[in-house]
């Protein structure tokens, strides 16, 4: 199995690693870089728990090879807060009790941020469809949607 040397930027930090040719980006993040915020829920791109952004695009990291992201800018949950300042989405998720077990939360936050970066005034339906690629089994999605809508409103006021 051949090894590949990859240079990327992760959460703004230049990051180099060596990985196997068949290793997913998710495996690299979790097993080589210690960035365990992205979770493996299914490894087939169906649950969204591994969501990251690659050059600003929302992606399931289990469907991308570690070798494919040379030169790309990766965004993970670990980069969402600004030092000790939580992103408004993170704050609202806690306030609205939009998480119970919390395993899907990193994926949802990445997906929700991606939505609000592209559409600052989503309707409830738009929020629901934007988040349809992230599975949650605990909450029934109600409080997640409320948290995202509330954050969108707060960001618009700012």
């Amino acid at each position: 199995m051949s090894s590949v040397h990859v240079s990327t930027t992760i959460n703004g930090d230049p990051t180099d690693y060596v990985c196997d040719a068949d290793e997913t980006l998710l495996d690299v993040l979790r097993n080589r870089l210690g960035l365990t915020g992205a979770k493996e829920g299914c490894s087939t791109g169906d649950c969204g728990a591994c969501s990251v952004t690659i050059d600003g695009r929302l992606t399931c990291s289990c469907l991308v090879l570690g070798a494919e992201v040379d030169g790309a800018k990766i965004g993970t949950i670990e980069g969402m807060a600004n030092g000790e300042k939580l992103h408004p989405l993170q704050k609202k998720f806690i306030e609205h009790a939009a998480l119970q077990c919390g395993i899907c939360t990193p994926g949802f936050l990445i997906a929700a941020k991606s939505l609000l970066d592209h559409n600052p005034k989503p309707t409830e339906t738009e929020v629901r469809f934007a988040l349809a690629g992230n599975l949650c089994r605990c909450t029934g999605y109600d409080k997640i949607v409320r948290a995202v809508m509330d954050t969108a409103a707060e960001l618009r006021r700012a």
Partner: protein, 760 residues
């Protein structure tokens, strides 16, 4: 156990009932929280499990010699590494066999061997080198097929228990149960209207997003550590220690954060194997299940086949209810059919009721609990017939249910007489709810159902330690699966009279506390919460004693009020109140650390009733059902943290909606699971659903100081019937099988349309 039932209804709470942020929130929104697969240990090996591709097969031999020769492979285990130490405990023996097959592979996915290697790639290659010689046997996966006289037998010596006279021939029927009272035949003779129907539900999976994962570390001195995502790390410790022949105290288990359980993580699957591998290799071994393995080889629910017959007089009084339930629990005894039988009619006040249950084995994975185990299927059947009966009698379904609802003093269908229960309040509140006034259009319909779960107490230990700075550390042994840390903190702060922010709740490992029962049975806020309250009262006694010593007055001359020790009366002396912080600051020099404890087995859990209302719209061209409106009204006794109570209502309801509309285990003729992934095992996604409205009722449970009732499980019980009833109202077809997926509904609609045409 002192009960404060009078207090709970009139007491004004300072923090209980508010909605502060949960203490582990920041960890979970930043990715810092560590779940089962997030731990690493130096030198760790990757553990992988070899699983039977066949639904039923004799294992003639296992040859792992080639695998052992592969560089990087450090251990291979089979059943020979897990000798039978179950000592006649039949339940534990079944767990052992499920964890690692012995003479037979009993279902596709059944573990037959395992390897530990220095990398995932080597472990995968090693599995391919293990040669298993199978003799394929005929299999059966359907519950009704498994009960037929010529069905392939899983256990050639199994004679059905609970049948008189004892059957002469073996079968796949483990046991027959019967519950009820009165005389159903006599009851039916009094009925003006009788409805009889048969139902089937397919197996579903709890669908937690986090696959099972653990990291085991056992040394040659027989001491071990295990990091695992579980609902009960004490159960894991005791079960694994017994299976591996270790002393309980030598195995320390730490519960990681858990990414969902819902009952599916109340037992062990990979943990004994990981420990056995680690012991053999003398290195840490990490085992993480794939999603496919989770579907194939953990614990889905039973599938069921149920007959229900209910009779009523023309003025709407139910005179008899009779049900026969057939559940398959996978390849081992123990489907929750008895709970299905017990809960089927639990919502009603009946003079004549009977529920018969058959526990059946077949070639499927061993079932595990899924929120109110056994109840949703039974409720689907009974509440569907109730709705139909209401319409036939000419009453509104809600009024029909109110007329026949169980109340305090009712002889329940499963035996005990009910104490104070919240069913009528939920029904009456539902009746007034704006949901009932929402307009309905074409192909839209409204359905309802009410449901119930027992809840129970069990063992909990709490250690409450007061820091010298006056902040409090609460150590509990109940893994937090839904936000319970916040509730423990609220109850502690309430009792001690200090701010919520000054309390931190930590879930400790098995070496730190006495035994804690699994976080299941909706027991945590009730039993562990009550333990926190009692531990706080224990701490208060000690704080008062300390204050008394400092003041030089008798202990019983000191009381506790608003977080302060005060002299009980004017004649106790003129001492200004001393806060918890002030007393704690002096602890080192006045006798040492101050702590409160409580270890017990809680009883007196209160049952929780709920009423659900569902509006749906059916697309007659595709058979697709969209949920338009959904309301949950449920009795919580006392909502300690209302946001997390609402969360339980909503989460359980959505799981039930998924069960009703889309989720099912699909087996091929070869006995293999066809849809072992989230693409084809379709759980509800965000765009499928509306907001789930919730109403919390509070009819106090006399068995808890604040009146708390467990709420986590009841919410999955009514949705199957509520959805089915709404579909029936929308398009006039009665669906008697779940899931009510588009192909099935479309077929039913086409059949209905053909019948209409034929009649014209």
């Amino acid at each position: 156990m002192p009960l404060d039932n009078a207090e709970s209804s009139t007491r004004k709470y300072k923090v209980v009932g508010t909605r502060p942020n949960r203490p582990d929130g920041v960890d979970k929104v930043t990715g810092r929280a560590r779940f089962g697969a997030d731990a690493v240990a130096p030198g760790q090996l990757v553990g992988l499990i070899l699983r039977s591709p066949h639904a039923h097969a004799k294992i003639k031999s296992i040859d792992a010699s080639k695998a052992l020769k592969l560089a990087g492979v450090k251990a291979v285990v089979t059943k020979d590494d897990l000798p039978d130490k179950t000592d006649g405990d039949a339940g534990l023996y079944d767990v052992l066999v499920n964890v690692m097959a012995r003479e037979k592979a009993l279902y596709q996915g059944h573990a037959v061997a395992a390897v530990a290697a220095t990398s995932a790639a080597i472990a995968k290659a090693a599995l391919k080198l293990i040669n298993v010689d199978y003799e394929i046997l005929p299999h059966v996966t359907d519950v009704d097929e498994a009960m037929k006289p010529n069905a392939p037998l899983l256990y050639p010596k199994m004679i059905t228990d609970g049948v008189d006279p004892k059957p002469k021939k073996p079968s796949n029927i483990v046991r027959r149960y019967e519950f009820g009272h009165g005389d159903v035949e006599a009851g039916f003779r009094q009925a003006d209207i009788v409805i009889e129907r048969s139902f089937k539900t397919e197996a579903t999976h709890q669908g937690y997003i986090e696959p099972h994962a653990c990291l085991a570390n056992v040394g040659p001195d027989g001491q071990g550590e295990l990091w695992v995502c579980t609902q009960g790390h004490f159960m894991v410790r005791d079960t694994c220690a017994r299976l591996l022949g270790m002393d309980f105290s030598k195995l320390r288990v730490t519960a990681s954060e858990i990414g969902g359980g819902f009952g599916g993580k109340t037992t062990v699957f990979i943990e004994p194997v990981a420990l056995a591998l680690s012991r053999k290799a003398n290195r840490p071994v990490k085992v993480v299940m794939s999603r496919e393995e989770v579907f194939k080889a953990t614990g889905p629910t039973s599938s069921s086949s149920i007959d229900v017959k209910i009779g009523a007089t023309k003025d709407g009084r139910i005179v008899a209810g009779d049900a026969t339930l057939r559940y398959q629990g996978g390849a081992f005894a123990g489907s929750p059919v008895e709970f299905g039988a017990m809960t089927a009619f639990a919502q009603y006040d009946l003079d004549n009721v009977r529920a018969i249950g058959f526990d059946v084995v077949c070639n499927r994975p061993k079932q595990a609990a899924y929120r109110a185990p056994g109840a949703p299927m039974a409720n689907f059947a009974v509440e569907s017939v109730i709705e139909e009966l209401a319409h036939k009698v000419g009453m509104e379904p809600i009024d029909f249910r109110i007329k026949n609802a169980a109340r305090e003093g009712t002889h329940s269908s499963y035996g005990p007489i009910y104490g104070p229960i919240g069913l009528l309040p939920t029904l009456q509140k539902a009746r007034e709810h704006p949901h009932f006034k929402a307009p309905l259009g074409k192909n839209q319909g409204r359905g309802m159902a009410c449901g119930f779960w027992f809840n129970f107490g069990g063992q909990s230990c709490v250690s409450m330690n007061i820091g010298v700075d006056g902040t409090v550390s609460v150590t509990v042994g109940s893994p937090d699966i839904g936000g319970s840390r916040a509730s423990m903190g609220l109850m502690t702060a309430e009792e001690l009279g200090i701010p919520y922010e000054k309390v931190r709740t930590v879930i400790a490992d098995t070496g730190t506390l006495g035994y804690n029962d699994v976080t299941d049975g909706s027991r945590t806020t009730f039993a562990t919460g009550m333990a926190c309250i009692l531990a706080a009262r224990d701490a208060i006694k000690k704080l008062c004693a300390r204050a008394a010593q400092i003041w030089g007055i008798p202990e019983d001359a000191v009381t506790w009020e608003n977080g302060h020790a005060k002299p009980a009366g004017a004649n106790a002396g003129n001492h200004p109140p001393m806060s918890l912080k002030e007393i704690a600051a002096q602890a080192p020099s006045t006798g040492g650390p101050i702590a409160g404890h409580h270890e017990y087995s809680a009883d007196g859990a209160g049952v929780s009733f709920a009423t659900h209302i569902c509006d749906s719209e059916v697309d007659p061209e595709t058979g697709f059902t969209k949920i338009l409106r959904y309301t949950v009204l449920q009795d919580a006794g006392k909502a300690v943290h209302p946001s997390y109570v609402e969360g339980q209502f909503q989460g359980g309801a959505v799981q039930g909606i998924g069960w009703a509309l889309n989720e099912e285990y699909i087996y091929g003729k070869d006995g293999r699971l066809q849809n072992a992934g989230f693409l084809d095992y379709r759980i509800p996604v965000c765009s499928d659903l509306p907001m789930i409205d919730t109403v919390i009722l509070e009819i106090p449970n006399p068995g808890h100081p604040y009146g708390v009732r467990g709420v986590g499980e009841t919410s999955i019980v009514p949705p199957l019937a509520a959805v089915a009833n709404s579909v029936s109202a929308a398009v006039g077809v009665r669906m008697t099988e779940t899931p009510i997926s588009p192909p099935k509904l479309l077929a039913a609609l086409e059949k209905q349309s053909a019948m209409k045409k034929a009649a014209e």
